[in-house]
Symmetry: C2
Subunit: 341 residues, 2 copies
Amino acid sequence: MSFRDTLVAPKLYAKADCGQIDSGMSLDLAAIRAAHARIRPYIKRTPVLTNDALDAARGAKLSFKCENLQAAGAFKSRGACNAVFSLTDGEAARGVVTHSSGNHAAALARAARLRGIAAHIVMPKGSPQSKVRNVESFGGLITFCEPGLNAREAACARIATETGAALVHPFDDLRVIAGQGTATVELLEEVPGLDIILCPVGGGGLLCGTAVAAKGLKPGIRVIGVEPALADDVAQSFRAGRRISIPTPATIADGLRTNSTGELNLPLIRQYVDDVVTVTEAGIIAAMRELWEKLHLVIEPSAAVPYAALLEHKLTFSGQNVGVILSGGNVDLESLPWLKR
Amino acid sequence: MSFRDTLVAPKLYAKADCGQIDSGMSLDLAAIRAAHARIRPYIKRTPVLTNDALDAARGAKLSFKCENLQAAGAFKSRGACNAVFSLTDGEAARGVVTHSSGNHAAALARAARLRGIAAHIVMPKGSPQSKVRNVESFGGLITFCEPGLNAREAACARIATETGAALVHPFDDLRVIAGQGTATVELLEEVPGLDIILCPVGGGGLLCGTAVAAKGLKPGIRVIGVEPALADDVAQSFRAGRRISIPTPATIADGLRTNSTGELNLPLIRQYVDDVVTVTEAGIIAAMRELWEKLHLVIEPSAAVPYAALLEHKLTFSGQNVGVILSGGNVDLESLPWLKR
């Protein structure tokens, strides 16, 4: 692909965009290792689970990295902690700001509380009460805005101007991406024999971190992003070689309802990721149900997306060692998708 | 208590009832360590999880031993494997038999398959299809009988006579009790500072193993059994100093619906356990809901029983290090108790 030949090296992005990080940092394995050292006191080393019944059913050796058991219930704590603890004391004193109604918001609020600084969270009016309570439980300062990306970004920009708070984007931020990559460092430490890693894709923060970490540790490994077919902006963008926006997706995987990947993300995805495949809504629900029953884990729909690719035979994996990142576990227990059908 | 003074030493029970086990075995910490070495290739070392939000809510430092993540979804795999792999080759060749419709049946079928021997499982007619399928999935040979303990025991005895299969009782068996105690060896290796361990009580197999292991490793630790108030045979028996039978209990905690503890169990409970407390059905459901939401684990109602004792303030534990054994995760995902109310 000619696009890859002309790709700006990730290191240059890192230098350009991460001035506030240690000058030695760049988006390579070393940067992810530095992030790991930085955030280790604030995150959990989550377990990796295996399951004979699922291996037999899928004809592969599966290793599940349980980020649903991460602090605040999702891998997002890794990136948020890396961003917050990368700030200088002067920057940190002015707090952080983001727009998100989901796991990144709660993770950023938690990270900010751990550092003792303010977290301004812009959430659209009408966000689920459970998500509002979650952010509040970590002391996040919520500003409600009109729904829609424009209103959210405008509110964010206004708060940043008024307070001097540092923006911590949910995925289009190298500090965040480096933090997300630390899950894969742990996974490969525990299961060095992996042939493939499957990773859910929303904006692409987790996918970029996963791929940079995995290829840095084991160049021959395959890294596959899995996306709901209803939210296939990254799959489209990966193939087109340019960022493609789609209307706000209606997928059940609420953590993956982004309509465009980030400026920093697409070049990294194109350089380090082997493929991006898509799965159906029915596949996501079936995968979620099967993982709850067999793994005895509460995972959110987004976390079931990679396993859905195995269920729907979207990949060649027979007999291989497959790592599956279970991204989070924050789900409304009053409303389970298999009880609605 | 005069009962305790006249208690026959556990070692004598072991000698009397476990002739098929290594002659050096007795029901003390050494026996549990021997069981651990024996079963280690066949079970999982389950993770111990902590959760800041639950600690803050309960005012204690909680450590959850996740036996819902054990092979076949429950701690029962420990005792079943210890019993099956304690058999001589000659005994093993004739297979094993038990009566159970629950986790012990699946665990015994799995253990027998691992040893390459037959597992005869007596199940009452009308057992849930999910439980039947679970036993079948491990190759268990099911014999259906009329409901009721008498019919189950009669069918079991008939099969034992016809086949020579060794009976592996779900809880009234020192090999099983020793196996169940291995969860606590792992828990205290990981969290040596525990002050209390809370353990669900059905027939008392897990409670006995937990208590013998815990007191052997750390004499000053407190071990508390927690039982549904609707199934309080062990709480009653503990206080009376004799085995008290109750009508078949109707608790939602289906793993704890025993109506009497075992002959071997009560003396051990009286010697090693500090107290047995009871909890309400509403408390069990609330505990289950809270642990699903905050720990992101699928646990069955029985596994929520110890945490219900914290929710219902049945214990003095403020500021203490509390170990909580989450016993299993096999639950009907179509029918969750908080959605029925």
